[in-house]
């Protein structure tokens, strides 16, 4: 009897202790896994070694996870600092940053910041101001647009990794098969969107008359995302957001936006542009040789999966709006977690990746448009630079329209991404835009 009692009590004690240990154990393991082998809490130093934890986007060997490896290895070799990089998918990264930063988490040091979130993270206290780490001389090494996009209320919060630029990409093999010759064009004599739509239509009629092959005529790499879709409205003279960054009324419910969305909806209705693919799936159609024309970034060339020969030229303009050419711009930035315990080392890593050898390697590997002035000059003055990069450098300097600057970019992009997608799927243009205005105004009312 007594033995049973002892056994029962032992069992209860063991269970309780077990649960408590399980709780502690998993937390300990998580910490260990999260922060790599040489650190248990983000970027703290352990003995002589220092580990910096960087959270970013682009999973997989083809994504940033794979292509940044040589840079991180080179940095470790040079400085002895280990970079524990953790990659998420594009959408997941925003949630991870939001969750960790809102909770005041110190278990990461450096974060990749999409340009549109600089003001939000800056105003929310998630980012450490970088002015103390970057001298004026260093800041002057970036083009002003790129530098300014990392600034919010006179504080520099983020350093540009690179910028981006849009061009018109085309599949030469498919155009040859369809016996279509692209008209001569240059920066002053661009193809028009209407012309490209017509060429795409002709191409589809020859290549896929009954639509059974699944070819797409003309589409956008980042479909239904404001980043790229807004350039249509901008090319009609439309703006992205009000001056104060808190309203869409009188901005998107205007003629340029209505005209741009109506034109795009017709492109879909005519079967030239696609439906049903999202921004992760649609570019794959171009990379696989199933699309004739695509508005895409400079990285398009390196993303191709098939052997089709492709080409790029200047972004189109709308007929009658030749002097209002607009291309999307802006890209990723580096920021320091304001709760990081290793800010100096984090800043050093950021400098390496944005201004130093890491930046050289990155621009070489990824093929993005540099934010660094010396690299831009190199492209413009080097005869060996690719035509794609020369076009990109021109567009970045002459037609790039900065994205909406607002601390409520989450609400902004949700509402307008949805409006573009709804219009794509047949919703009434004016109604969609009015709904977007109403939804955005209601969403930001709490911030005013």
């Amino acid at each position: 009897m007594k033995l049973r009692k002892i056994m029962a009590l032992t069992l209860v004690t063991a269970m309780t202790a077990g649960m408590a240990l399980t709780g502690c154990g998993s937390s300990g393991n998580d910490s260990g896994n999260d922060s790599g082998s040489s650190s248990s809490d983000g970027g703290e130093s352990s003995g002589d070694s220092v580990t910096i934890k960087w959270i970013s986007q682009g999973t997989g060997e083809d994504g940033w996870e794979g292509i940044t490896k040589p840079i991180l290895e080179a940095y470790e070799e040079e400085t002895g600092v280990h970079i524990n990089a953790e990659f998420y998918t594009f959408n997941d990264l925003f949630e991870v940053i939001e969750t960790k930063s809102a909770a005041g988490n110190a278990d990461f040091d450096v974060m990749s910041v999409d340009v549109t979130y600089v003001s939000k993270y800056g105003s929310s206290g998630y980012l450490e101001p970088l002015d103390q780490y970057f001298s004026d001389e260093e800041k002057a090494k970036w083009d002003d647009a790129s530098y300014q996009a990392g600034v919010w209320e006179d504080n520099m919060y983020a350093a540009p990794e690179n910028t981006s630029c849009q061009e018109l990409w085309y599949n030469k093999k498919l155009l040859d098969e369809a016996k279509i010759t692209l008209p001569e064009n240059d920066a002053d004599n661009r193809l028009t969107y209407e012309q490209v739509a017509e060429l795409a239509k002709q191409g589809l009629e020859k290549l896929d008359p009954d639509g059974s092959q699944g070819y797409i005529g003309f589409d956008f790499q980042q479909i239904s995302r404001v980043y790229q879709m807004n350039m249509l409205a901008n090319s009609m003279g439309g703006k992205n957001i009000s001056e104060d960054g808190y309203s869409l009324d009188g901005v998107v419910n205007t003629q340029p936006w209505i005209d741009a969305m109506t034109w795009y909806q017709k492109l879909v209705d005519d079967g030239i542009a696609s439906q049903g693919y999202d921004a992760d799936q649609l570019p794959e159609q171009f990379y696989a040789g199933k699309m004739l024309f695509m508005i895409g970034g400079t990285w398009t060339g390196t993303s191709m999966k098939c052997d089709d020969e492709i080409g790029s030229t200047y972004a189109p303009c709308f007929e009658g709006h030749e002097d209002e050419v607009a291309t999307s711009t802006g890209s990723w930035y580096f920021g320091i977690n304001s709760k990081s315990k290793n800010k100096d080392a984090a800043a050093d890593f950021i400098k390496y990746f944005t201004l130093g050898k890491g930046s050289d390697m990155w621009l070489e590997i990824n093929g993005d448009v540099p934010s660094r002035l010396d690299k831009q000059d190199e492209i413009a003055n080097n005869e060996d630079s690719s035509e794609t990069m020369k076009i990109a450098a021109y567009e970045a300097a002459n037609t790039a329209v900065p994205r909406a600057v607002t601390p409520v970019f989450g609400e902004y992009s949700t509402v307008l991404d949805q409006a573009w997608e709804d219009v794509r799927n047949g919703a009434d243009v004016e109604e969609s835009l009015n709904n977007a205005v109403e939804q955005f105004d209601a969403a930001v009312a709490a911030y005013k």
Binding site: A8, V12, Q275, N425, E438, A445, A446
Partner: protein, 287 residues
């Protein structure tokens, strides 16, 4: 025998204590915290402004409408289909275990994966469902991009997996009915439908209560298929309250708004479960 369990009156409490502590930390505390956050102003004082802003927001009312519509459609469908499936796999034939396993398999696939698979199958361009419709000479249907179809498609995606889960509970209930009852009914000449409606369904009362409450709660809180397959669209037609709460928390960082939405959702779920409970209990009392 077993004396220590009776003599030590604290032992049962001690045994459930770890679970109670976990429930308090991970369930009760977040609920209380959410309710408080909904009434908290930026300077941590009391305010009704968060609710005022929410009630003035057209998106909220649309989400509420979509949530109620979604649940009114999905709850009866899931329960009826699960019941029919349970009846099928309750028959005594050789190898029925294989069918039970097959019927239960969808639940073994994660909701995210099953949603992605359905998303591909229902794709307007090259989805297998539209290919089959094409073979039949029908035009492609925008299952996930047409606001007439999107919510129904989400119901289909959720139910394909969900029915397998609820089927198991109903099957367990069916197994609990004494076979002598069916034998007596058979001797008395009761037909299939008579037995079904007068014996099987009434005897599953406790199972119904559990399945109804659990199913309601699960479906009111469901948002993964909407997030993955439609992103709440087209035109907000699948934007349920829970997804709106998720977006408020993780996309907009608007914690007060998220807290208000979750609190409202909690009140709705509690009300619905209360009515269901009352209805089922009264029905029993009237008998």
């Amino acid at each position: 025998m077993g004396g220590i369990y009776i003599k030590n009156k604290w032992l049962p409490y001690l045994l459930v204590l770890p679970t109670i502590i976990m429930i308090c930390i991970f369930k009760i505390y977040p609920i209380i915290d959410s309710v408080i956050q909904g009434f908290a102003s930026t300077d941590s004082g009391f305010t009704l402004d968060n609710y005022k802003h929410l009630f003035a927001d057209k998106t909220f009312w649309n989400s509420l409408k979509v949530t109620l519509k979604f649940n009114i459609i999905i709850i009866p469908i899931q329960i009826i289909v699960s019941f029919i499936m349970a009846l099928f796999v309750n028959v005594k034939v050789r190898g029925i275990e294989i069918f039970r396993t097959i019927f239960y398999l969808p639940f073994c696939i994660s909701l995210t994966i099953s949603t992605v698979i359905w998303q591909m199958m229902l794709n307007v361009n090259n989805g297998v469902v539209n290919s089959m419709l094409g073979v039949l000479g029908l035009r492609p249907v925008g299952f996930l991009i047409d606001k007439k179809w999107a919510l129904l498609s989400i119901v289909l995606i959720s139910s394909w997996r969900g029915c397998a889960y609820w089927m198991m509970f109903i099957l367990a209930g069916l197994k609990g009915i004494d076979s002598a009852v069916y034998e007596s009914a058979k001797i008395d000449g009761s037909g299939f439908f008579n037995t079904l409606f007068r014996i099987t369904i009434p005897l599953l009362k406790n199972t119904w209560l559990f399945v109804l409450v659990a199913n309601t709660t699960a479906n009111f809180l469901l948002f993964a298929p909407m997030q993955i397959a439609t992103d709440g669209g087209p035109q907000g037609s699948t934007n349920v309250l829970m997804y709106e709460a998720y977006k408020s928390a993780f996309k907009y960082s608007n914690r007060p708004r998220q807290a208000c939405l979750v609190t409202i959702l909690l009140v709705i779920v509690m009300l619905v479960c209360f009515v269901q409970n009352k209805f089922m209990t009264e029905k029993e009392a009237n008998k």
